[in-house]
């Protein structure tokens, strides 16, 4: 899928990353693709505003993020919860008496407040720098680091004691299978 327009060429090349970012934000493949389509249309409409030579990936992520939050604002139960406080409380309710046996990272990610999830994904999954992620989220670098720290702690809590012990076949060369929870906690604290 190659377009002749240079801008569209670059957007096309970033579609997979946009789809992955969108899915990590909302957790729903179909909804994520709708967000990506909205993002492409908005980017195209506002392409004059994009400064050639700057980071198109970060710019597109910013648009996608804005689309996502705009959509959330139209959902009444999300309107008054910009920090995800209520959502976090709701998500904790089912696990108040027992550790949530979540082995699916994607599901666990959706348990995080929106701001923590996006910070973690932007830096640790998409490969953006702290500075780029801060630009996308329109916050300070320190805020991004703080959100990542809280997201990490919450994920460790959600995924349970065996999370660090489960071997990932795709990364068997890494230390995934050999990291104990104790050492993981030591590293994250």
């Amino acid at each position: 899928m190659v377009a002749n327009d240079p801008f569209l060429d670059q957007v096309t090349a970033l579609l997979p990353a946009l789809r992955a970012f969108g899915r990590s934000l909302c957790g729903d493949p179909a909804r994520a693709d709708d967000l990506v389509q909205d993002t492409v249309l908005k980017a195209w409409t506002n392409r004059i505003q994009f400064q050639s030579g700057s980071n198109l990936k970060a710019w597109l992520f910013t648009i996608l993020r804005n689309c996502y939050y705009s959509e959330l604002r139209h959902r009444k139960f999300e309107v008054e919860d910009p920090e995800g406080i209520c959502a976090a409380q709701l998500s904790v309710a089912p696990v108040h008496d027992a550790r949530l046996h979540l082995r699916d990272l994607n599901r666990a990610l959706q348990e995080l407040p929106h701001d923590q999830r996006e910070a973690l994904v932007l830096v640790c999954a998409t490969g953006l720098s702290y500075e780029e992620a801060a630009d996308v989220c329109q916050v300070a670098v320190g805020t991004i680091k703080s959100r990542i720290a809280r997201a990490r702690d919450r994920l460790v809590e959600l995924l349970g004691e065996d999370a660090a012990m489960v071997t990932d076949p795709a990364s068997s060369e890494s230390s995934v299978g050999s990291v104990s929870l104790a050492s993981a906690r030591a590293r994250v604290s």
Binding site: R19, L41, N106, V139, G142, I148, A184
Partner: protein
């Protein structure tokens, strides 16, 4: 108060992402992300991009 000035958002300390997140978690996050990136892009995106390109040509 803007988000940039919230006192609770103190910088937790220096370090790269790899230092802030344990290997097992970072690896899985990247794997989850690349799994989606490896999926074929749906045809509807091709149609949308073609539509935009045609529109540009026609303008």
């Amino acid at each position: 108060m803007s988000d940039k000035t919230k006192p609770e958002q103190a910088i937790p300390g220096p370090g790269e992402p790899a230092e802030q997140v344990p290997d097992w978690l970072g690896n899985r996050l990247r794997r989850m992300f690349t799994d989606v990136m490896d999926e074929p892009v749906p045809d509807e995106f091709k149609a949308l991009l073609k539509q935009l390109e045609d529109k540009e040509r026609g303008s």
